[in-house]
Every structure is written in structure tokens, then in C-alpha cells.
């Protein structure tokens, strides 16, 4: 690019902190998100102690946290090293919020999307580089506000990540911080999604038609549209709830509400159902925001490592577009027990069954792609391969939740926790790990260690199943997901053994991440040097140097063919890159 000289005279701040290069911003997003993921997971590991050993002093943290936060804090939240029910609720709410809005979405959309998507379409940068920088910093501020909320009087938000009214309206101050933080995060996503869509439509290299785009780019495009159209209603809902809390309006407060024996001083006339509608209008498309980019990552990895074209690429594209579209009319399946009427429930049950079809098509296409491929079992591929059955478990266990009759029994039990964690944890987060192993050489110019990577994979895969599989049994036994101590109920007491198993699984999963952290940092320094195309892959990002310079491509690439031309008969090599004109 003509501004190549720019990269030399930029100061440290412009180059690494307030950079407008999509690659730096992508790395900023990914690293921040990984830190938040680990932080969110730590909150959960603390909660698992309370669940497994209620009333017992927490080892190490039971003494460490009180000494960090002071005596006053310890007396209300950590008496005798045991977390209080309020603290437990805060940790639960913040675990969900942090994992979804500060961890997974910024990682797979902000991180991978920002870094890989422009490279894959042969663009020099995103369409609006400054806007891109702004969206990262707005996200960062949102994250900081969320973290700061832990220090608010009464602790962080404690009404669940869904912040159902009226509980959230009458909750402690942390909820206000949560709402402000959410408004920042939503704004950041909106800025990002505008940028993504314009970039995909305007900055594709010559010859890169829509149906020559790698599937990852398609997934990002649909995701961006979901963010664009589904997120603003939650911003509106957040503003309304903020008004309820700060200005004393009663949008979500019904007449004569009594909380803990006290009649609330609200004018009334509001509707708690309204919050659920506006929340789930976002939050169901959000599920696809979590899963579609993961499918995109997996598709790239499976194509490169089976040495075969993706089976049914166009079918997958149509499916993903259909998924995105349909995801706007399924949200009320989260609300079957609100009594919104059987006709509406029947409608949403039907659409929910319909939306499972394209998901199954996506999974099937990837599965068939494996058939008779010469599969390379590297770490990225192992994570990608385990994504398939894990996501299938998560998806199939969702079907009973999509039907009102069975949902009424299973709603708000551990079954639902098991279901969506199978989709997001060994699903999306495994896909994200796969993506890290796959694109690490492109970002840093060095390979990650395969040995440590495989250790990370096998330990994580086993541990994560130990964590979540028991939850299905517990849920079927009717244990509520929000209990601080399930032994209070006889059926909960009977299932306490599974809770202990699940908790040990969670801690083992935490330990397993040490392999990843070590691998990540050691490989930056000591990893084997990577060539431009270490995986012999076909898509455009591999035609740029590793790491790509400012402006990405030395010569603007021209695209000659579809994205996954592997093992083309009659070729000397088993891959045919998109930018190579003749063999």
C-alpha cells in the first residue's frame, strides 16, 4: 500500500494502543476478551466451591479476598470465608454477562472477525478504521464499568445476566452500573457491525464475488446484520430500566408491587413482560451471534485439514442466511412459562422447530466433508472435530426446551444450564480455541506447540464434559439453576454428589487452561517460525506474509476461484489458492 512508510514513523501509542489498523484492533479485542473469559471463568470456579461444599470456608480465596477488599466487605460478603448468598448471586449474574458480552462475542466477532475477515476478502483494512478503533475503546470502557461495578455499594449486579424486572429494578446499585456498561457494549457492537457490513460489501478484492467468499466471511456478515437489528431494542430496554431505577418511572413495575413485605412506591402500570420481550428480542439472535462465527471458524479449519472442498458450501451459505432471518421470530420460546397465551406459545414452538433445521444442515455439511478426507489431526483440527459432537449435544438437548409442554418442566433447571453451555462452552469456545491455534502463526509469525496444544485439548475435552454432563441429570431431577445450596431440598440433597463431580470438573478445566496460557506466551517468544502459509490453505489471508504488514498485501490480490479448492485432480499440489491464476 502507498502508506507503507506510515508504519515506521508512528509512535508507540498510535501503533499499539490507539491504532486504526484492523489487525492491531483485532489482537486488542482478542486479548482483552481472553482475559475477560478467564476472569468470568474464575467467578464460576468460586461459585462451584459454594455449590459443592456449602458453608465451608473457601480454600485460599476465603482468606485472600477479605484481606484484599477489607474487613467491612468481608463481614457482609465473606463471613468466615463462606460467600454470602448475595455475593453468590452477583457472581452468577456477572459470570453470564462477562462470558457473553465481554468474552465470547468480542473474541469471535471483534477479535477473529476484525483480524481475519479483511484479510480473507483481500481488503487493505476495514472501511472505517477510526470507527473500528472507537468500537474497541467503547467496548473496553464498557468492560471497565462492569468490573468497577464489583466495588459499588451492595456489590455488582445480582439479578442474573437476564436482569429480569422487577427484581432488577429494586436491586442494589450494581444493577445501574450494569445497565450503563451494557449501553457501552451495545454501542460498540453497533459501530462494529456497521463497519463489518460496509467492509464486506465494499472492500472485496477483484474477483471476490459473494459466492467466492470464505464461509467465515458469510458467517460474519449474517452476524453483523443480527447485531445491527437485534441489539438496539436492548439498548432501548436498558434505557427504560435505567429510567425505572434512576428517575422512578414504572415501565416494568406493575401496580401495587410488594417486595419483602414493603409496598413499592411506583406509579405502576408497567409490565414485567415488556422487559422479557425486549431482552429476548436481542438475546435470541445473540445466541446465533455466538454460534455463527464459531461455525465460520470451524469451516475454515475443517476445509484446510481434510484437504477437501467443503461439502455443500452454497447450502451452508443459504442455511446461515435463513438462520439469521429466522432467529428474529423465535425469541418467545424463552418465555413459555410467563403465561403469554397458548396460541403465541404454539407459534414460537413451531418457529423454534423450524430454526433447528438449518443448524442441522450446517452440522451435516461439515460432517460429510470429513468423509474420505485425508485428515490432519493437528490441535486446531482436534478442537474443530470435537466441536461437532459437542455442539450436536447442545443443539439436540435444546429441542425439548423449544416445546412448551416439556419446557414448563425443564425451565430454570440445571438442564437448561447444561444445554446452553454445551452450545457455547465446548461449542463456541472450543471453536475459538481452534481459531487461536489455526491463525496464531498468521498473527505472530510463529507456530504454537502441538504437544502442549494436544494436552490442552484432551484435558479440556474431558473436563468440560465432566462439568456439564451431570447438569442434565440434575435438571431432569428438577433442581433449580439459581439455588445457593441445593441440599435444602430432598431431591437436591440426593443429587449433591453430581454437583461435587461437576465442581471438580470445573477446577480441572481451569487447570487445563494452564497448558494454553503457557503455550500462548511461550510460542510468541520461542515458537517455530511460521511461513506465510503453514497449513497449505487456499484462502487469501494465507497469501499475505506472516504477520501481515500495515496495509496487508504487498500486491492487491485478484481472486480466481471459489474458496476451498483442495485436492483438485491433475494439480501438482493438493491446494489451489484463491489468488493463483494458473497451476
Amino acid at each position: 500500500m502507498s502508506d507503507h512508510d506510515h508504519s515506521h514513523d508512528q509512535g508507540f501509542l498510535r501503533k499499539y494502543v490507539f491504532s486504526i489498523d484492523h489487525k492491531v484492533i483485532g489482537v486488542q479485542y482478542a486479548v482483552t476478551a481472553l482475559v475477560f473469559l478467564f476472569f468470568g471463568f474464575c467467578l464460576m470456579m468460586m461459585m462451584r466451591w459454594q455449590l459443592a461444599y456449602p458453608g465451608q470456608s473457601m480454600p485460599v480465596l476465603g482468606e485472600l479476598l477479605p484481606s484484599l477488599f477489607g474487613k467491612e466487605w468481608a463481614e457482609t460478603n465473606m463471613g468466615g470465608g463462606v460467600m454470602s448468598p448475595d455475593l453468590y448471586n452477583s457472581l452468577g449474574a456477572m459470570h453470564g454477562t462477562i462470558m457473553i458480552f465481554l468474552g465470547v462475542v468480542p473474541l469471535i466477532v471483534g477479535g477473529f472477525g476484525n483480524y481475519v475477515m479483511p484479510l480473507q476478502i483481500g481488503a487493505p483494512d476495514m472501511s472505517f478504521p477510526k470507527l473500528n478503533m472507537m468500537s474497541y475503546w467503547v467496548y473496553f470502557m464498557g468492560g471497565m464499568i462492569m468490573l468497577a461495578s464489583f466495588f459499588a455499594p451492595g456489590g455488582a449486579a445480582n439479578s442474573g445476566w437476564t436482569s429480569y424486572a422487577p427484581l432488577s429494578v429494586t436491586a442494589t446499585q450494581g444493577q445501574t452500573w450494569w445497565l450503563v456498561g451494557m449501553i457501552f457494549l451495545i454501542t460498540s457492537s453497533l459501530l462494529g457491525s456497521v463497519n463489518f457490513i460496509v467492509t464486506i460489501f465494499h472492500l472485496r478484492a477483484k474477483g471476490m464475488t459473494m459466492f467466492r467468499m470464505p464461509f467465515f466471511v458469510w458467517a460474519q456478515l449474517v452476524t453483523a446484520f443480527l447485531l445491527l437489528l437485534a441489539f438496539p431494542p436492548l439498548e432501548a430496554a436498558g434505557a427504560l430500566q435505567l429510567m425505572d431505577r434512576v428517575a422512578g418511572t414504572s415501565f416494568f413495575m406493575p401496580q401495587g408491587l410488594v417486595v419483602s413485605g414493603v409496598v413499592q412506591e411506583y406509579a405502576g402500570g408497567g409490565s414485567p413482560l415488556l422487559w422479557q420481550h425486549l431482552f429476548w428480542f436481542l438475546a435470541h439472535p445473540e445466541v446465533y451471534v455466538l454460534i455463527l462465527p464459531a461455525f465460520g471458524i470451524i469451516t475454515e479449519i475443517i476445509a484446510a485439514n481434510t484437504r477437501k472442498p467443503i461439502w455443500g458450501y452454497r447450502t451452508m451459505v443459504y442455511s446461515v442466511v435463513f438462520l439469521g432471518f429466522t432467529s428474529f421470530i423465535v425469541w418467545a420460546h424463552h418465555m413459555f412459562i410467563t403465561g403469554m397465551g397458548t396460541s403465541i406459545s404454539a407459534f414460537f414452538a413451531t418457529t423454534t422447530m423450524i430454526i433447528s433445521i438449518p443448524s442441522v444442515i450446517l452440522l451435516t455439511c461439515l460432517l460429510i466433508t470429513l468423509y474420505r478426507g485425508s485428515i490432519r489431526f493437528n490441535t486446531a483440527m482436534l478442537f474443530a472435530l470435537s466441536f461437532l459432537p459437542m455442539f450436536a449435544i447442545g443443539g439436540l438437548t435444546g429441542l425439548p426446551l423449544g416445546l412448551p409442554a416439556s419446557d414448563i418442566a425443564l425451565h430454570d433447571t440445571y438442564y437448561i444450564i447444561g444445554h446452553f453451555h454445551y452450545v457455547v462452552a465446548p461449542g463456541t469456545i472450543f471453536a475459538a480455541f481452534a481459531g487461536v491455534y489455526f491463525w496464531f502463526p498468521k498473527v505472530t509469525g510463529r507456530m504454537m506447540s502441538e504437544t502442549l496444544g494436544k494436552l490442552h485439548w484432551i484435558t479440556s475435552l474431558i473436563a468440560i464434559n465432566v462439568v456439564f454432563m451431570p447438569m442434565f441429570f440434575q435438571g431432569l431431577a428438577g433442581i433449580s439453576r439459581r439455588l445457593y445450596d441445593q441440599r435444602l431440598y430432598s431431591w437436591g440433597d440426593a443429587m449433591q454428589g453430581w454437583t461435587v463431580v461437576s465442581s471438580w470438573g470445573a477446577w480441572a478445566l481451569g487447570l487445563a487452561q494452564i497448558f494454553f496460557i503457557l503455550n500462548f506466551f511461550l510460542s510468541i517468544k520461542f515458537g517455530r517460525k511460521a511461513s506465510a502459509n503453514p497449513w497449505d490453505a487456499t484462502t487469501l489471508e494465507w497469501s499475505a506474509p506472516s504477520p501481515p504488514p500495515h496495509g496487508n498485501f504487498a500486491k492487491v490480490p485478484t481472486v480466481h476461484r471459489e474458496p476451498y479448492e483442495y485436492s483438485v485432480p491433475g494439480m501438482s499440489k493438493d491446494y489451489f489458492p484463491q489468488n493463483v491464476s494458473e497451476a
Binding site: L190, E235, T249, H550
Partner: protein
């Protein structure tokens, strides 16, 4: 990297027929539609669900159609002056375009001034606050969000009248495009008010 390096910041893309800023603005406006949509949806659900006789009548609402109607006119006129600013840039008449922009800013400021001095302030003084009832909650939230959008528009226009005007000398087409995008946003703000006026002032 300066924006000028990237393609399609000024010239339209051959396939979409748009320069990037315009596509971006339209996408942004789509999200704005959904933002106000969330609030409109709340209005509809709460109003339909309101028990008989609890929604304030026209007299109880204390909103004068005279002020609302006058403000509607101000915004409509400002939309015309905005589009005239763009048309004059297209005809290479920068001084006139700038004059139209200044008029737009004045009209917008007048709108906000009237809103605050003749409506918010006396209402608040009379004890009609957001917490009074759901209608007033919605009224304040909707108009405040709309007012914030007006304020944002004023800031952007002031930028293009003042420090941003230098772009006209170096790259007039780029400047014209930016005014067109500002205009799109401004017309959208006008469009939201066209719905807010009957909903809040006339429908009780």
C-alpha cells in the same frame, strides 16, 4: 492510515452504487429505527395493556398541540434547509450551502430551547415528572432520546460549518458526501418526530 487511502470513500462502488459513508449511514439508520422501535414497542404494549381509564386523557396529559405543532414545523423547515444545503453544494455554491447549514442549526437549537423552556421546565415545576405515570415516563424517555439525537445533529453540523469546512477546499466531493450523510441522519430525526408528535400530543 488516512481514510483517503481506502477505496470508495468518495467515489461510488461499482456494484452497490454507493460510497462507503452512505452505506454506513443507512445501516446506522436501520439500527436507529430498531432503537426507537424498542421504545415504540414499549409504548404499544403498555398502552394496550393499560387497564381501562388509567391512561391519561388529553387534559391530564397537559401537552399543548400548539407547542408540539410549532416544533414540528421547525423540524420540517430544518429538513428543507438541510436538503437545500446539500443541493447548493452540488451546484458548487459553498457560501449559500453554509448559510443553509447555519439556518438548520438555528432551527434545531430553537426546537430544543422551546422544548426545554416551554415544556420540560413548566411540567417538571408542576410535578409532572417521569415517575408520575407510565405515559409521562414514556414521554420523557422518547423526547429526551430524540432531543439527544437533535443535539448530536447540531454538534455534527457545527463541525461542518466550522473546523470541518476546510475539507471543501481540498476535496469538495468528499465534503458534499459528508453533508449528504449528515442530511440523511437529520431527515431521520425529523421522521421520528413526525411519529412522536401525534403519538404523544394528539392520541390521548
Amino acid at each position: 492510515m488516512s481514510a483517503g487511502v481506502l477505496p470508495y470513500t468518495v467515489e461510488p462502488h461499482p456494484v452497490t452504487g454507493l460510497y462507503s459513508g452512505k452505506l454506513g449511514t443507512w445501516l446506522f439508520l436501520a439500527s436507529e429505527v430498531m432503537l426507537f422501535g424498542g421504545l415504540f414497542s414499549a409504548y404499544i404494549l403498555l398502552r394496550v395493556g393499560a387497564p381501562e381509564g388509567t391512561w391519561p386523557t388529553h387534559e391530564e396529559a397537559h401537552l399543548s398541540w400548539k407547542i408540539g405543532g410549532f416544533n414540528t414545523l421547525l423540524l420540517i423547515i430544518s429538513s428543507v434547509t438541510m436538503v437545500m444545503a446539500w443541493a447548493n453544494l452540488k451546484m458548487n455554491n459553498f457560501p449559500k450551502a453554509r448559510m443553509y447549514l447555519i439556518v438548520t442549526v438555528i432551527l434545531a437549537s430553537l426546537f430544543l430551547t422551546l422544548k426545554i423552556s416551554l415544556e420540560y421546565y413548566p411540567h417538571w415545576h408542576d410535578g409532572l415528572k417521569p415517575s408520575t405515570n407510565v405515559f409521562f415516563g414514556l414521554y420523557y424517555t422518547l423526547t429526551a432520546l430524540h432531543g439527544l439525537h437533535i443535539f448530536g445533529g447540531i454538534v455534527v453540523m457545527l463541525y461542518f460549518i466550522g473546523p470541518g469546512a476546510g475539507l471543501w477546499k481540498t476535496n469538495p466531493e468528499y465534503y458534499t458526501n459528508r453533508i449528504e450523510c449528515t442530511g440523511l441522519y437529520w431527515h431521520f430525526v425529523d421522521l421520528v418526530w413526525i411519529f412522536l408528535f401525534p403519538i404523544l400530543y394528539l392520541m390521548n
